[in-house]
Symmetry: C2
Subunit: 226 residues, 2 copies
């Protein structure tokens, strides 16, 4: 059976990716990171999602981070949604590069054929490492910089959501029975999502456009559709 490492944050996109990888016939190996996030909510959700998908092995990597982001530094506030196209302070320097590097090492060790990453270049927060140009560049690093690559059996970086809007991702996910009730997207964490950060705004808008209802809890007065 072909194997895929799936970058699993416990959010909406990565959980959809898990379902897609499974649907495509891969044996799935989720990998998550404990990198000093502001909150453990994400990691708890990742664990719940992995359990739901009944995977053999959910790898959780602890690692130091280099600082400089509102998502890892409590002294930097998480801003409300602006949508101005600028790189926001929630950008974690080189985060997806780091995550993909770990996934790559893991994929080499277990002999996986693919790595799934749930980035989207359509509805996103303006992070440079969510764009197709980045994925293409990283694929080239895999081809040139790994044992698998130079042996001609390179590992494919798959970003199936990259051209999808959040609404399209949710529609696809609902067809695949993705357990969105187990996921978390809020940059502020907590049992109730804030509904005001970039990530919450994109999620709520996505469910609204997909004609569906988000089943996670939001702070009172936030839920936009029913």
């Amino acid at each position: 059976m072909k194997k895929a490492v799936v970058l699993l944050s416990g959010g909406l996109d990565s959980t959809t990716c898990m379902a897609i990888a499974k649907h495509e016939g891969y044996e799935i190996y989720p990998i998550s990171f404990d990198y000093g996030q502001r909150h453990n909510r994400e990691l708890e959700c990742a664990i719940a999602v992995a359990k739901y998908f009944d995977v053999e092995n959910h790898k959780i990597i602890r690692m130091d981070n280099v600082g400089g982001s509102a998502l890892t530094d409590e002294n930097i506030d998480v801003p409300k949604y602006k949508g101005d196209g600028e790189i926001p302070v929630t950008y974690v320097p080189a985060r997806n590069i780091l995550f993909l590097s770990y996934a790559l090492g893991y994929a080499e060790v277990i002999g996986a054929q693919a790595i799934f990453i749930g980035v989207s270049a359509v509805d996103y927060s303006g992070y440079p490492d969510c764009r197709p140009e980045f994925i293409k560049a990283f694929q080239n690093v895999v081809n040139e910089g790994t044992g698998a690559g130079v042996r001609g059996a390179s590992i494919e970086i798959k970003a199936p959501l990259i051209y999808l809007t959040k609404a399209d991702t949710i529609k696809l996910g609902l067809e695949l029975d993705v357990p969105y009730q187990l996921t978390s997207s809020c940059y502020n964490g907590g049992a109730e999502a804030c509904g005001q950060c970039d990530s919450c705004v994109l999620r709520l808008k996505g469910f609204e456009e997909a004609g569906s209802k988000d089943k996670i809890k939001y702070k009172k007065g936030i839920q936009m559709c029913d």
Copy 2:
């Protein structure tokens, strides 16, 4: 003053890179990794080297590794030198990609203009992530996947030893007064180098060809020149 992050393992090559970065006028920010190496000898040397260079801040990143290498797994023996061009079991999957990713995040946070990495494609152990094709591919990831890159102020990946033999690296280092007595190269660690692993054999050959004497201690009967 321009800044450079230097990947510092405490070995011969990375220490030479520190001296080159300093010689080129950079304020140097060494970064080292505690990733479950077989031994702490490397990290001790990295700390001694950073102290010698009198740097403001030596960043040491702790991180889990994904396994699968003789350098991180005590159940896999470090082989003696073969020189057959095959990728050896001392290859740590995606290691340089991971190290560069961390260095990249750190470079973004401190606003560095360059990252120095001491890889060589001439006298090396056959690792794919030491080749110029890999460095070029990673540079493209920097350009496409980071805030600095998309703002047009990309961070340069500098691999000044990539076309040098070990002997040429040592000759250059001796001109720059590199404290080779503080460095360690042996895959087996320990206060006395084994003299038989890939790394020791390349180091000893390098000093011999450079017409110099290696001042670190080897196990009795190993030192090849005087």
